[in-house]
């Protein structure tokens, strides 16, 4: 019987595994890197072991360190979670060799499914339908478009879609390199690509007594860059007959490799109801909670039970299918900026009470550039799909996620999209309906801007030590309005607005110098202690992270907003630098208070190219003196396991290169400078620039 479980993972999945262990009375051991020392998963476990370093290769991927951690902490079992070493047969072997219980399938099954090429061969033997691929079929038989896939690993890394023959070579090379870097195995293969296919997978569970069952399907068609972001069970495209066929194929696949424990067989479902095996994930899936919701089972508990040698219980052998469940993945990345990863500190993480939340972060959590960008999952369960959609949309609308940019706005838009609501899903859904911030939506959000300006002025007055009791912005001659400049959205692709205001007897407000239409009444909620901030109630006691409730009435409509101000600088006199999160029934807006007095020199020299995010330099495509054309990739940067290119903004000549391959860079760090090609005296650059 397992007494102490080492969870060889981090983030939300480590927290989720710990939760079941705690319920079952099993003591938990967390492991953590330097950057994760205070992470939520560490706090969710009973014991923690420090793995020195940050990079996964130094920490969460070090089999020797993990076995040692288990030994030192007295663990008798190891749960690998997903990702990292979850599908690493050598790790499974090492765990078992160390005399510990391995929560996962036998190493042989991992091995068999670990190579997609080999797995497909086995499936062909077992009579499970597969797509033609380059291991068997010729490129002509496969045809375009085709997908270049890494044989190892998963999660969309080392994957490239190729539509025409000339693209193939480059795509192969890129995929090989990415696969080598991500999985240590550069093997790739080409497979027929099914346009507008649906990703439907079946959860399987096998005990050590020869019972293998399917726990129905999940649909995970909404993906970005081949990574799932919305998953649901059951699939709106699967009827009972199809379900029965797919489940049978999945059980056959699992049995073929002698599977034990929880696993997932992934299929591609075409528009005609035909399906083909994609791969098998020999681990717990990220999206397992939707299956748990509709079956009422706890998959982690069942994994443990199987590992302890118990037969599957009756409720797992004949699982119910109750209602409908949908999961969204909250990621720290910006869909409006090509899914650029974001880093930094979360100041508030509240994802709702009427839904299941599997999170790896809470207020105060820091997102480092070293690991996956997924930070939490929100799962809603309803009697019908519509019911689940509405519950989930409601939870996301009321969510408070303050900190690095996340995809929450995109998730809200997906859930509201008519095609999604209609259940017409396919893997190119987001290519057709990006659900990013629509163009033209940079019009000033009047109500949040006013709420932010009012809150900031109230905070300024509260912090004032001189003449604190005098009304805010009082003027004997109100000639010029008070103002604050706020940027909406990200610092680069957002819009900037100036909110002007007089708070005297003749109140007035302007946004970008235009009077705000209709009457604006900010005096509805009266602050009880200070008359200067008549419109702001203090909701939380801490001045650094106080939440305020602001009431703004525009055009007779009363808006109650929650405003959360986070100051980057302590003790400033309100001259900029604060981040303002405004949440209300109309949604959430993040505003950045512009620096009123930017330091000279803080603006970059012309032609400087900066790192768009923290990360490591993978490659430099150019050298000093090279002529470059606008749009040409110059530097490849790896961050959060994704490769990002920095492109030339205009034609020019590379004047200076300030970084080297392998170097870790910070967001905003200058990588290289480019002289524009306006004049020919290209050798004049030097110390003077």
């Amino acid at each position: 019987m397992i007494q102490t479980m080492l969870i060889a993972n981090r983030g939300e999945i480590a927290c989720r595994i710990a939760r079941t262990c705690r319920r079952l009375g099993i003591r938990t051991v967390a492991v953590h890197s330097d950057a994760d020392a205070t992470a939520l998963h560490v706090r969710s476990c009973d014991i923690a072991v420090h793995l020195i370093g940050d990079a996964p290769a130094d920490t969460y991927l070090r089999i020797d360190l993990l076995i040692d951690a288990a030994r030192r902490s007295g663990a008798d079992a190891v749960h690998p979670g997903y990702g990292f070493l979850a599908e690493n047969a050598a790790f499974a072997d090492a765990v078992i060799e160390a005399g510990l219980v391995w929560i996962g399938p036998p190493a042989s099954a991992i091995d068999a499914m670990g190579s997609k090429v080999r797995a497909k061969a086995l499936m062909r033997e077992a009579g499970v339908p597969v797509l033609p691929d380059s291991s068997v079929e010729s490129l002509d038989e496969i045809g375009f478009p085709m997908l270049v896939k890494a044989s190892a690993g998963g999660g969309g890394r080392g994957m490239r879609l190729v539509r025409t023959a000339p693209e193939l070579e480059q795509a192969r090379a890129d995929a090989e390199r990415e696969a080598q870097s991500a999985f240590g195995d550069g093997t790739v293969f080409c497979e027929r690509y099914v346009e507008r296919g649906r990703h439907v997978e079946v959860q399987v569970l096998a005990d050590t007594h020869g019972t293998t069952v399917a726990l129905h399907e999940r649909e995970c068609s909404i993906q970005r860059r081949h990574q799932k972001i919305v998953e649901e069970a059951p699939s709106p495209a699967v009827d009972p007959a199809l379900r029965a066929r797919m489940c049978a194929a999945a059980v056959a696949a699992a049995e073929r490799v002698g599977y034990e424990g929880a696993g997932t067989v992934e299929f591609l479902l075409d528009a005609d109801g035909g399906f083909a095996f994609l791969e098998m994930n020999t681990r717990l899936q990220v999206e397992h909670p939707v299956t748990e919701a509709v079956t009422g089972l706890d998959l982690v508990e069942l994994q443990i039970s199987v590992a302890e040698g118990r037969p599957l219980p009756p409720e797992a052998v004949d699982p119910p299918l109750l209602g409908h469940a949908i999961e969204v993945r909250l990621t720290a990345e910006d869909p409006d900026a090509d899914y650029r990863p974001s880093t930094g500190t979360f100041h508030a993480v509240e994802l709702g009470e009427q839904v299941r939340v599997d999170t790896g972060i809470d207020a105060g959590s820091v997102i480092s550039p070293f690991y996956d960008s997924m930070v939490a999952k929100v799962i809603a369960h309803g009697t019908t799909r519509d019911d689940a959609i509405r519950r989930l949309a409601g939870a996301l609308r009321d969510a408070r996620v303050h900190g690095p940019t996340t995809n929450i706005a995109q998730l809200r838009r997906i859930l509201a999209h008519p095609e999604f609501v209609a259940g017409r899903l396919h893997t190119e859904f987001l290519d057709e309906h990006p659900c990013t911030t629509p163009p033209g939506s940079d019009t000033a959000p009047t109500v949040p801007l006013l709420a932010a300006a009012l809150t900031l002025q109230a905070r300024n007055r509260r912090a004032a030590t001189t003449l604190p009791g005098v009304p805010s912005g009082w003027r004997s001659n109100p000639a010029v309005e008070q103002f604050v400049e706020l940027a909406v959205g990200g610092a680069e692709h957002g819009s900037q607005h100036r909110v002007g205001y007089h708070l005297g007897r003749n109140r007035s407000f302007t946004i970008d110098h235009e009077p705000v239409a209709a009457e604006v009444d900010v005096g509805v909620d009266v602050d009880v202690d200070v008359d200067v901030d008549l419109h702001v109630d203090r909701a939380a006691p801490s001045p650094a992270h106080a939440r305020e409730r602001v009431t703004v009435v525009v055009d007779g409509v009363r808006h109650v907003l929650e405003v959360h101000v986070v100051s980057s600088t302590a003790g400033g006199r309100g001259t900029g630098g604060a981040t303002v999160y405004v949440d209300g029934p109309g949604g959430s807006v993040t505003l950045h208070e512009m620096e009123r007095f930017p330091l000279p020199g803080s603006t970059l020299a012309a032609g400087s190219l900066v790192a768009p995010m923290p990360g490591a330099i993978v490659r430099l495509h150019v050298s000093v003196g090279d002529h470059v054309a606008a749009g040409q990739p110059l530097v490849a940067l790896e961050a959060m396991k994704m490769e990002h290119q920095v492109h030339a903004p205009a034609d020019g000549i590379v004047a200076e290169i300030l970084v080297a391959a392998g170097e870790q860079v910070d967001s905003g760090q200058v990588l290289l400078t480019i002289d524009d090609t306006g004049d020919d005296t290209g050798d004049e650059h030097g110390g003077a620039t």
């Binding site: 300024n460 004032a464 030590t465 003449l467 912005g473 000639a479 010029v480």
Partner: protein, 534 residues
Amino acid sequence: MPVVHDEIDERSEVFAANRSALLQLIAEHDEQLALANAGGGEKYIARHRSRGKMLIRERIEYLLDPDAPFLELSPLAAWGTDFPVGAGVVTGIGVVEGVECMISGSDATVRGGASGPAGVKKSLRALEIAIENRLPFISLTESGGADLPHQSDIFIPGGQTFHDITTLSAMGVPTMSIVFGNSTAGGAYQPGMSDYVVMIDKRSKVFLGGPPLVKMATGEESDDESLGGAEMHARVSGLADYFATDEIDGIRLGRQVMRRINHRKLGPGPSGPGRPPRLDPEQLLGIASVDLRVPFDPRQVIGRIVDDSEFDEFKPLYGPSLVTGFAEIHGFPIGILANHRGVLFNEESEKAAQFIQLANQIDTPLVFLQNTTGYMVGKEYEQRGIIKDGSKMINAVTNSSVPHLTINMGSSYGAGNYGMCGRPFGPRLLFTWPNAKTAVMGPTQLAGVMSIVSRQSAESMGRPFDEEADASMRAMVEEQIERESLAPFMSGKLYDDGIIDPRDTRTVLGIALSVVHTNEVRGRHGTGFGVFRM
């Protein structure tokens, strides 16, 4: 605690009449402020902006701590003269990096920022306030120098500007000049005499003689930048301590200086935040008499400006035409002297003299709420020594050394103006309600006196008295005196520090009290005598 009892009936005719008339006067005052704010007019504002420059009030707005107050002073200077309203200068008290400062700057859209006689007076008044209250002084400099055709009214008095800046410095009060444009000839001593000088690249021009004058004097060919550009002064002459890239950067540097002046106020701080009055300040508009013959109870005003409407009256039964007592405004303790029913009699004068001595004994600032027609005349009062008693009061006011703040709520006539700490008696700050009048006596009385005198003169010389001429003379004199006693006229002559909306009285006094506590607050005591019981 005794709280002022609300005796105001909002439905009364008097209240309604006062309120509507006062609102009208406030609107008229706002029009005059708009004139001052419009500076040199659209054309010059457009030209100023086309050079990428901010208007003076915009510069001040940037300089101030966000959402902190600004008390502009003498905005109607030069009202009623040939010079533009505001006199082309903006002065006021504002908070910069938590420090209450005197801020002064020329409006370059008005005659290139050149100072006229009223502008000089206004600047000097600002410096005087800075010296009396130890306020750090920030000059936002951009001035073409003296308005030369009026040099005779500027040259001699204007020199005091430089004298006063360095006086402040010697007192240990930092001074700073941020030079936004021209500061040439005599104006060059503005930065020259300042403790800290910020100059702005390509904008600041500071030299004694420009290229034409240099050419005339020595034949040397030169240009603005080499004679007085910011970079030259920052790198070569050393006149500039800080070199800014643009206006906002100049203001940033100015704020940086103020952050580091290690500012300490010499007076005590407030006892607490100070609760707002229980009675509604909005009602002050219905209380203040527009017809000055109608008296009003100053307690109803006090109850609307002091903390929690709490007022501890001193000697309420003695000399009831003058209300005296203690209260707090924004947490600062004050003694109040307020006229009731206009006239100061013997008892009122003695009560005032005693109360002023008491306030000095306990180092408590005094607030004078004026609404007086002066000291009582007539046989009975002369025989009871009204001159002696009035003199005691004026003596006490003169030699009192606690800070005085004066609000003219209605009339300020005759020697009553002196006894109630009018301008000649040096209150630290003096503000006027829009309905108020100030003169040696009321227009009717003055015209009547003149008429009686000329009638007597005609009689004594045996000449027939021309009734018709007398009537027209009386009308003319009445009209002139009335006009010259009005608030804008007094403001125009710098006889007050500004006209304020009565509803702002508490705020203005709150700022003023904080300002006076920047200096030591010490009454006249330890003179060897105790307080004289009168």
